[in-house]
């Protein structure tokens, strides 16, 4: 599973990345987390409000820090 956390580097983006990593560590799911901070790359995915989480190319959430529960739901 490939997970991209997108954001230019504001505190919220860092928080979103942390939550995703925590959930992965807790559930032991095999996934690669990638932090994307390049605007061009972010825009190519059609994301225009950050932080955003993209899993295997599918946008899961934009413009907010997801809760742990939400992330768990996406990973199942």
């Amino acid at each position: 599973m490939n997970i991209k956390v997108m954001g230019p580097g504001c505190p919220k983006c860092a928080e979103a990345e942390k939550i995703v990593k925590t959930v992965i560590a807790e559930t032991g799911i095999d996934a690669v987390v990638e932090k994307v901070s390049d605007f061009q790359e972010i825009a190519k995915h059609g994301v225009f409000s950050t932080p955003a989480v993209v899993i295997d190319g599918k946008i899961k959430c934009v413009g907010k820090v997801p809760s742990k529960k939400e992330v768990e739901g996406w990973l199942k």
Binding site: F39, A43, V47, F48, T50, G63, G73, W74
Partner: protein, 368 residues
């Protein structure tokens, strides 16, 4: 302004996205009528407490602590004890209300809405939507790209980008709480005008080719997010989340700002600022704009300071120009925007918005 990203939005209700999303299942389910009764009760309590703050602050300062009514320290402390809870209470109420309103306006919807608009109307709509759409300055660039690729005209996009951080509920609440509704209304109207006119002018200049080349090649990947269906209790929860998020973040600025303001209120002599920032000093308006550009603060920090400046004889136009410049033209935002805009467009942006702010400053110094 470090706004508000608490986006709202939740995907929480999307079945595919979230297993724990059924909020009703956890916690006690409350019916809509219970929520309405609780809400009315809350407003009643809020109202009662709010109108006791002034006498209470006097009682605390002059009777309980026993400071003299004419002393500098007494004046400062009473000012602080009254203004801090007053502003915090106003802020909480308004942020809650706006949080609920915001759940109707996601950036996605704003973009879709603006994509079909022609210039002039579009500029007005964009500036107005800037007030209610959640916006965080670190989201400025992705948002810019999203707007432009969706076919929102460049000038309309700029109207939104100018209005979103500058005209927002926190600035307005603080202005209302500390300086009265007239100043808040003036700020609202002139802020919107600057955003509308500056955006329109930038659109007229036809500067599309001064976006970075890769931006011009981008094509919209439209409608990636499905619209969520929110129930009223979701929206109320968004209001609460907004309060936690925003009030939790800005209270320290408010308290610090009011403390500085209180010190100036008690100790700096009347008319101290009149010679530097008064009406007589014509050069003070451009100076205020220029000084404001490298400064970066959000509304929460700047308004209490402005309050103190005004009280000591600074002219309203000069002070408003300073505030708009600090919030709307910030160096960090320019650095971020440079990634998508060529220097000429950034220069134009600063120039056009700066001129607008300058006009606002002179206008108020003349008519008031």
């Amino acid at each position: 302004m470090e706004n508000i990203q608490k986006d709202i939005g939740s995907l929480i209700e999307q079945p595919a996205c979230c297993s724990g999303g059924k909020k009703e299942s956890k916690g006690k389910p409350r019916s809509t009528s219970t929520q309405i009764i609780l809400g009315l009760l809350g407003i009643g309590v809020w109202y009662t407490v709010y109108y006791q703050l002034e006498p209470l602050s006097r009682y605390l300062t002059y009777d309980l602590i026993g400071l003299g009514k004419d002393s500098h320290l007494g004046a400062s402390i009473q000012f602080f004890l009254y203004d801090t809870p007053k502003v915090m209470m106003l802020l909480t109420l308004v942020v809650y209300g706006v949080g609920i309103i915001r759940s109707f306006f996601t950036p996605e919807r704003t973009r879709k809405f603006l994509a079909g608009k022609r210039e002039s109307t579009g500029n007005v709509m964009a500036a107005l939507l800037g007030i209610v759409t959640p916006f965080c300055s670190c989201s400025a660039v992705p948002l810019f790209l999203g707007f432009v690729t969706a076919g929102v005209p460049l000038g309309v996009t700029f109207s939104f980008l100018i209005s979103a951080p500058m005209v927002n509920e926190i600035a307005l609440v603080l202005l209302y709480g500390l300086l009265g509704w007239k100043v808040a209304a003036l700020y609202l109207v002139t802020g919107l005008l600057v955003a509308i006119v500056a955006g329109w002018v930038i659109g007229r200049l036809g500067m599309e080719r001064h976006m970075e080349d890769w931006v011009q090649e981008l094509r919209a990947n439209a409608d990636v997010m499905p619209d969520e269906n929110l129930t009223w209790s979701d929206r109320l929860k968004h209001g609460l989340d907004a309060v936690k998020d925003i009030v939790g973040k800005v209270w320290i600025y408010v308290v610090a700002g009011i403390a500085v303001g209180a010190g100036i209120h008690g100790f700096v002599p009347e008319n101290f600022m009149a010679s530097i920032m008064g009406k007589g000093a014509w050069w003070s308006v451009p100076a205020a704009v220029v000084v404001g550009i490298p400064m970066y603060s959000n509304a929460a920090g700047i308004v209490p300071v402005i309050h103190a400046l005004l009280e000591k004889g600074a002219a309203l136009g000069t002070v408003l120009a300073f505030m708009m410049s600090v919030i709307a033209l910030s160096l960090p935002e320019m650095v971020i925007l440079r990634k998508v805009l060529k220097p000429r467009l950034i220069g134009t942006f600063i120039g056009v918005v700066g001129c607008g702010i300058l006009l606002v400053g002179y206008l108020f110094n003349i008519i008031i």
